[in-house]
């Protein structure tokens, strides 16, 4: 120690010319002082950072060069000429000088010829988002994030430029630090049963996110790029002094919406009306005025018996409803959940080694009781420069998460049940009717108390995921580099569920069978993706004006999924043990699948004088998924760009129009999510019983198609990039046209083949639209700054053809007739239902209005579309499309002295939701045991009291037909995020902390949607088609999206 001190002292003495250089760093635009700028002496490890006034002091010699770097600013080298320096840094936020990460490399934004959009990740760490996909909402034109679930930690759905596939999924390819992650197509319910690529990826570690939208930029990823490519780059260490950062926040989240249901009194009002009507219609001489006792006598029932069809509970109408509880089930189940996050990271580096290391804890209690998500993640990104030519690197990210979810969302799950549960219950049962020793209330459903289910169900998904990469890069010649990487994504997932008998069945069987009714499940999957990529890159500028960049590569990609599942057969032998060793009989099985993808790819980029830009790429993919006759495919692309603003004739207006670039691109890409063995002649086990024993029966499970191959996508894109006033305002406009052909389609075949459909490449769909992005520094230069980013996109989707010249295909429904159609010329999955036109009056009926079944006055009036005088399924017409036509987002950022305020507002319109949840809470003919939407308050009661004209009489008995009463616009506008921060660094001594910040964030606090029949217009949780061939994920009881409020602190040491 002493020796070191001595050494440095003596060194100081030796370099006699070294003096203390003082300096101040300011923004070249607004002259604001820049704190935290890294100042480094070139060729040495000595460095410092600027303080809150932008000042620094460093020991240096004259003639030495200082390197100044600061996030959001262009780096600058300054030669030491005197003892005080005044340095201006030029802001990089206008983006044209920024570097964007593209497939297998980086490019200057100015040189990009494809459609690539970037997300502002600056505030990511200050938003209470446990997942990266949530952060993408509203940030980029053409990138739509559907927040499909309110269960924290669950994967969302991301769509880039519309939906181009019917059954092979529409999720983009995610590339994490160059590692293409195994794609996941949502299952038929809209969830990710074998993992989502973004699971457990810590948002706080993200440095940048880029989305490759058009085929020319994405086609380098070939058969996986048709839905776009999302490139995520994590934080790396930078040369300079170690920075230790502690980021922490704590707050709560809660529901952003409550569903308007009938109150207990209103429920009683409706029930009495219905019971009386049924009673009066059930026989001669029966009147509504008859008391329950009289009715009991007429029915010949004993004193302790009731017929709930004809008798109501006398206590309903007594003052104070003695012995009954009026329960608002929603209020009982929702809560304010605690959320907290702690992240500690250290980064830094010298010439030879750079590192970024972080650890994060995130805890999120759900907005509904007993639902929560906890994750632990760590990351180490290390890069070692072994010598001048050789660089090694290692990225490793171990993570662990636990998601407790008793089964809240989806049909017949807890949320559905608690919304439609009768609000009137026996007081003696409390919140737990039909649970434990409590009976079912006679006028309520047989559902076990949803609160009981929330509290007593154990269901946890535990995931251990590690994404690891190592790479080596060798500089063969100047400009010629070879890089090889080996990546492994290892995901171990376990799911355990335990349902005790106390929340099952009815009271008699709880009492007689006890733990025989207890059930348990344990299932696991392990997904391993192994990718080896080898690339050769060459960058050279020839004769000053010709810059060339070339890439050649080969990659090997294998993906293996192992599943195991076990479940109890005949209950449990214990009431306390929840593991399957106490189950009476266990069944289980395991399955495995694997696929391999081999690829060769190359790209050539050429620029002349930075003006004329040319890029072309090609990839050849071979996949084990493709049929024997179609193993390999080519995916070419080309694009051109012209930076008009670099031309001489533009120079006189360059003060105003600082950047103008025209772009055009074309490319072919593919979608290879067609299932691992879909092209093979598989046999299925059609088991049977003979002689009381199980026997195996084997027969073909489908029609064999050796030609099965990837879906193809052809995209044209033209775009213009603008920059005004030295790029103070930048804007981008793109038009695109994507035609997807050879869609993986379960082509309906004649069922006399023994099958419903045959998997084939058939049909085509077009997505076309335009996008607009603008970034503007509205006010700069003073103490007050204001900037705006705005994005807007339009997409129109049109089905061009189906198989064999078919003009339409009705998507089956597990709930009644089809309500969704694939019709040529219309958007995919158009909503196809009967239109309701108000309520039938007696006059309508007398005038011969078309009726559905035995409809009478006061029932809904439907539009007789085919004019045949009756209402039936043939009267369905297309009434909407599921995807919005327009999506937009706007972020405004204000800064005043140490304060900053950022507001993100986002929305969409032009789409519709057909809510099968309506079947639970808004069904014509809904019986009394279920509760219904608040709109039933204003139902038709009599010709004199016709209500609001939307809901017919409660006593209608005509049944139901799928019609527009469950159709809602999916339009919404939402203030996604408001963050207010203050730079505490201004008040704290630099010797303790180099930076400190305090912030409050309100997420999803304000908003409006038109989905009165459900919580979240983007929810998907149930397969409405009930078919795996034409899955249609929709809402049947999805949680609202949470709104949250947090308080946070951020320290840099």
């Amino acid at each position: 120690m002493k020796l070191l001190f001595f050494l440095s002292l003596s060194l100081g003495n030796v370099s006699a010319q070294e003096t203390a250089i003082k300096g101040k760093v300011i923004d070249s635009h607004n002259s604001n002082a820049l704190p935290g700028v890294s100042v480094l002496i070139k060729g040495k490890t000595t460095g410092t950072t600027t303080d809150t006034t932008g000042s620094f002091s460093i020991q240096a010699r004259r003639g030495e060069t200082l390197i100044l770097s600061y996030v959001g600013y262009k780096s600058k080298e300054v030669v030491v000429t005197g003892s005080t320096l005044h340095i201006e840094l030029e802001s990089d936020s206008q983006g044209l000088e920024e570097v964007v990460v593209v497939g297998y490399g980086q490019q200057r934004r100015a040189d990009v010829t494809g459609a690539v959009t970037s997300m502002n990740t600056e505030k990511l760490a200050e938003r209470p988002l446990p997942r990266v996909d949530q952060a993408l909402v509203g940030q980029m034109a053409g990138v739509r994030v559907k927040q499909t679930t309110g269960n924290p930690g669950q994967g969302l759905s991301v769509q880039v430029r519309g939906v181009g596939s019917i059954s092979a999924g529409n999720e983009p390819l995610y590339v994490l630090d160059g590692f293409p992650l195994s794609g996941a197509t949502p299952n038929a319910n809209g969830g990710y049963s074998s993992g989502n690529p973004l699971d457990n990826i810590n948002p706080n570690d993200i440095e940048s996110i880029q989305v490759l939208k058009d085929a020319s930029s994405a086609a380098i990823y070939g058969s996986r790029a048709a839905n776009g490519v999302v490139i995520i780059t994590t934080k790396k260490g930078k040369t300079g002094k170690p920075a230790i950062n502690l980021n922490t926040y704590v707050g709560y989240n809660e529901r952003s919406k409550k569903l308007d249901m009938l109150s207990a009194d209103e429920w009683i009002d409706r029930a009495v009306e219905m019971i009386n009507a049924q009673w009066v219609n059930s026989g001669e001489g029966r009147t509504a005025a008859q008391s329950s006792a009289e009715r009991r006598q007429i029915l010949g029932l004993s004193d302790d018996e009731v017929d709930t069809r004809y008798m109501y509970d006398d206590r309903w109408l007594q003052a104070g409803h003695p012995g009954l509880n009026f329960i608002d089930w929603q209020d009982e189940a929702f809560r304010k959940g605690l959320i907290q996050n702690y992240q500690l990271s250290a980064s830094g580096g010298a010439d030879a080694v750079k590192y970024y290391i972080s650890g994060n804890y995130n805890g999120q209690q759900g907005m509904i009781k007993e639902q929560d998500f906890t994750s632990y993640s760590a990351r180490a990104n290390v890069e070692v420069k072994a010598n001048k030519r050789l660089t090694f690197g290692l990225n490793v990210t171990p993570t662990y998460s636990i998601n407790n979810d008793p089964g809240v969302e989806g049909k017949d799950n807890i949320l559905h049940q608690l919304v439609s549960m009768s609000p009137v219950q026996e007081a003696s049962s409390g919140l737990y009717p039909n649970v434990g020793d409590n009976p079912q209330y006679q006028w309520s459903t047989s559902t076990n108390s949803p609160i009981g289910k929330l509290e007593q169900t154990l269901a946890a998904t535990k995931r251990f995921r590690t994404v690891g990469s190592i790479f080596a890069q060798y500089q063969i010649l100047d400009g010629l580099n070879f890089k090889t990487t080996l990546n492994l994504d290892h995901n171990d997932n376990t799911f355990k569920r335990y349902i005790p008998f106390t929340i099952t069945g009815s009271l008699p069987n709880r009492q007689s069978d006890l733990t025989k009714r207890t059930s348990g499940t344990y299932s696991t999957f392990r997904r391993q993706t192994l990718v080896n990529e080898n690339t050769l890159t060459y960058n050279k500028t020839l004769a000053e004006n010709h810059s060339i960049s070339a890439l050649l590569g080969f990659s090997y990609n294998s993906d293996k999924l192992d599943n195991a599942t076990m479940s109890s057969q005949n209950g449990y032998g214990s009431s306390t043990i929840t593991t399957l060793n106490y189950a009476l009989g266990v069944t289980g099985n395991t399955t495995e699948t694997k696929n391999v993808l081999l690829s060769y790819f190359g790209r050539l980029q050429y620029a002349y004088k930075d003006k004329y830009l040319l890029s072309a790429s090609a990839r050849r993919d071979g996949s084990s998924r493709f049929g024997a006759n179609t193993k390999w495919g080519w995916f070419p692309s080309a694009s051109i760009g012209w930076r008009v603003s670099q031309e001489d004739f533009m120079q006189n207006i360059s003060g105003t129009l600082s950047e103008l670039k025209l772009r055009a691109s074309w490319g072919k890409s593919g979608n290879y999510n067609i299932g691992d063995y879909s092209s093979l002649a598989l046999l299925g086990n059609y088991a049977y019983s003979l002689g009381g024993q199980l026997v195996t029966g084997l027969a073909p499970s489908g029609i064999y198609n050796p030609d099965l191959t990837w879906e193809k996508s052809d995209t044209y894109d033209v775009g213009v990039d603008f920059g005004f006033w030295n790029n103070r305002i930048t804007a981008t406009i793109d038009y695109y046209n994507r035609k997807s052909t050879g869609l993986l389609l379960n082509v309906p075949v004649s069922q006399i083949t023994g099958f419903v459909s045959s998997l084939d490449n058939a049909g085509s769909v077009r997505n076309q639209g335009w996008e607009f992005e603008i970034n503007s520094q509205n006010i700069t230069g003073g103490a007050f700054n204001w900037s705006t980013s705005f994005n807007f996109s339009h997409n129109s989707n049109k089905l061009l053809s189906l198989a064999n010249g078919q003009s339409q295909l009705l998507i089956p429904s597990s709930f009644d007739i089809s309500h969704s159609i694939l019709r040529v010329g219309e958007p995919m999955y158009s909503i196809y239902v009967v239109r309701q036109d108000g309520i039938l009056s007696q006059e309508d009926i007398d005038n011969g209005a078309a009726l559905y079944g035995n409809e009478t006055e006061g029932d809904p009036k439907y539009f007789d579309a085919n004019g045949d005088g009756v209402i039936d399924e043939n009267d369905r017409i297309i009434m909407g499309q599921p995807n919005p036509k327009y999506t937009w987002g706007i972020t405004n950022t204000f800064r005043y002295k140490g304060f900053d305020l950022s507001v993100l507002v986002q929305g969409q319109w032009g789409g519709s939701i057909y809510s099968l949840f309506g079947r639970a809470v808004n069904r014509t003919g809904t019986g009394i045991v279920d509760n219904v939407l608040g709109s039933w308050r204003d139902r038709w009661r009599s010709p004199e009291d016709p209500g609001a004209g939307k809901v017919g009489k409660a006593t209608g008995t005509f049944g139901r037909i799928k019609n527009t009463d469950w159709l809602y616009p999916s339009d919404y506008i939402r203030v996604r995020n408001i963050t207010l921060g203050y730079d505490l660094g201004r008040m704290i001594s630099k010797t303790v902390l180099s930076g400190a910040r305090i912030f409050v964030t309100a997420e999803n606090f304000f908003g409006h949607d038109k989905y009165d029949g459900g919580f979240n217009p983007e929810a998907t949780n149930t397969n409405l088609s009930g078919s795996t061939q034409f899955p249609e994920a929709g809402d049947y009881g999805g949680l609202p999206i949470p709104k949250s409020f947090i308080f946070g602190l951020n320290f840099t040491f």
Partner: protein, 494 residues
């Protein structure tokens, strides 16, 4: 060099074989493969009982099930709705029968091609006989629901299938007859089966099916391309039934509790069973049945201390059937549950509980163990009586003897001079909830009169459309029409 080798070995990796599924390439190589191939054809029978309950029992005057406000799929069946083309029960029958036919065609083709690996010629003959019987069985089922259906006698591609039109009724009968006539000589008697082969198709089953096919063909031609052609095959049918009767392999169960014991969970494969669809419980994959629970309301299970079986509401037995039973008929109480109270809530209506043994309720509603008897010996006897009534050789005394044997077992007194209406009435009560009523009405020619009168008397909820003869057939499912535009003619009335 090394790099090139690595690439080559990588390219071999593109030929991934499924890890957890067998493929056709490696199958049909040893005798056991063919047995498993035939088992898969049997497996297509598993939906048969439910289908008879949904499409025959529910269509007939046995059930009055239009009380759920139109929300249940069975209400359109019971209420003669015009728009049954998308009804799941109607769609299911078409798909699953053809699925069975396809599997039979696969086995028959493979036997023709690679059958020599089954060196035991008796076994090979049996396997072919089983496949042919089952194929005929599925065609007969299709014929009764839809009338003219396309004949597929080999494995077809989607393109081939798209061009195959409906066949005339007579051709379908010829196809069925040919299959069964080929099957009868190679199928063994019941006694030849034991252990895990118990319950496979016998020659008696094939004869019974052929007889029933002849009888159905001999039913009245309603002019709608239905199963009845007015053919006069009663004698051929009677001869076949006689062969079954004379084989001595079967008998009616007698003694105390005889009727109930036919359906006892502990008395499967009893001497009354000619052919049954078989189930067993607690297996993985599930090999149990759903039909016992299908017509039973959930709260009755609840009332008896059992959990929900799937949320079904009641499909009430018609008053007409309840009143049809004479007093003292022991079959009524066994077949029908009349009313119950659960949690103080009274349900006065009746429903079929014939197949439910409350002590054997499975934990999974799709896993009931009890077999479904397709034909029992009583049926063979009564079909014989029906043939005689239609002019096959035999006497009125034989008819009366058969029916009285059935009546006495049911605890009733004998009667004489039984006519067709009387016979059908007795069949209705004997086979209630066994899925034969609708077929019986059509075959006997009683359907129009019986149904019209019944609707008039029973339909207090005004939920049933007027009966037409067209409704003796179901419509061809919409999905099938859509897949083959212009090839099919939809049945009249839809």
């Amino acid at each position: 060099m090394g790099f090139a080798l690595t690439l080559l070995s990588c390219e071999n990796e593109l030929d991934q074989q499924p890890i957890s599924d067998p493929t056709a390439e490696t199958f049909y190589a040893i005798p056991n493969d063919f047995i498993q191939g035939v088992n898969a054809v049997y497996s297509a029978l598993r939906g048969y009982p439910d289908r008879q309950l949904n499409l025959s029992e529910t269509r007939s005057d046995n059930l009055y099930a239009v009380s759920d406000g139109g929300v249940r799929d069975w209400e359109g069946i019971n209420g003669f709705h015009r728009t049954l083309m998308s009804n799941p029960y109607v769609a299911e029958a078409w798909l699953n029968d053809y699925s069975g036919i396809n599997r039979a065609n696969v086995v028959l083709e493979q036997l023709a091609e690679h059958g020599d690996v089954v060196t035991d010629t008796e076994l090979r003959g049996r396997l072919e006989g089983e496949a042919r019987f089952l194929r005929a069985f599925f065609y007969f089922d299709l014929l009764r629901w839809y009338g003219r259906v396309p004949i597929v006698d080999h494995v077809v591609t989607a393109a081939e299938a798209a061009a195959i039109p409906q066949s005339p009724i007579g051709d379908i009968y010829n196809f069925i007859v040919a299959d069964l006539q080929a099957a009868i000589p190679v199928l063994p008697a019941k006694s030849a089966y034991a252990g895990v082969d118990q319950g496979r198709v016998t020659n008696a089953a094939a004869r019974t099916l052929l007889a029933l096919a002849y009888m159905t063909q001999s039913g009245p031609d309603y002019g709608i391309n239905g199963p009845g052609m007015g053919a006069n095959n009663w004698q051929q049918a009677a001869d076949l039934l006689d062969e079954v009767i004379n084989s001595g392999a079967y008998q009616m169960l007698q003694g105390n509790n005889a009727y109930a014991s036919i359906f006892s969970y502990d008395n499967e494969y009893n001497s009354e069973v000619v052919f049954d669809v078989q189930y067993t419980t607690g297996q993985n994959p599930v090999a149990g049945g759903t039909f016992p629970w299908l017509l039973v309301p959930d709260t009755w299970f609840n009332a008896n201390g059992h959990p929900n079986q799937g949320g079904l509401t009641i499909r009430p037995v018609s008053n007409d059937l309840l009143n049809a039973y004479e007093s003292g008929d022991i079959r009524k109480d066994f077949t029908i549950q009349t009313g119950y109270v659960f949690n103080g809530v009274a349900e006065p209506r009746s429903f079929f509980k014939k197949y439910v043994d409350l002590s054997r309720v499975p934990s999974n509603r799709e896993d009931w163990p009890i077999n479904f008897i397709v034909w029992r010996y009583t049926d063979v006897l009564m079909l014989k009586a029906e043939c005689i009534l239609h002019g096959a050789s035999g006497s009125q005394q034989q008819i009366d003897d058969i029916v009285n044997q059935v009546r006495v077992r049911a605890g009733l007194t004998p009667v004489a001079n039984i006519d067709l209406a009387r016979l059908m009435d007795e069949r209705r009560k004997e086979f209630a909830a066994e899925g034969s009523r609708w077929h019986d009405l059509i075959r006997s020619g009683l359907v129009e009169e019986v149904m019209t009168t019944w609707i008039e008397n029973e339909d207090s909820l005004n939920g049933i459309q007027p009966f037409q003869l067209n409704y003796t057939l179901y419509p061809i499912p919409q999905a099938e029409l859509d897949a083959k535009p212009g090839i099919y003619t939809q049945n009249a009335g839809y």
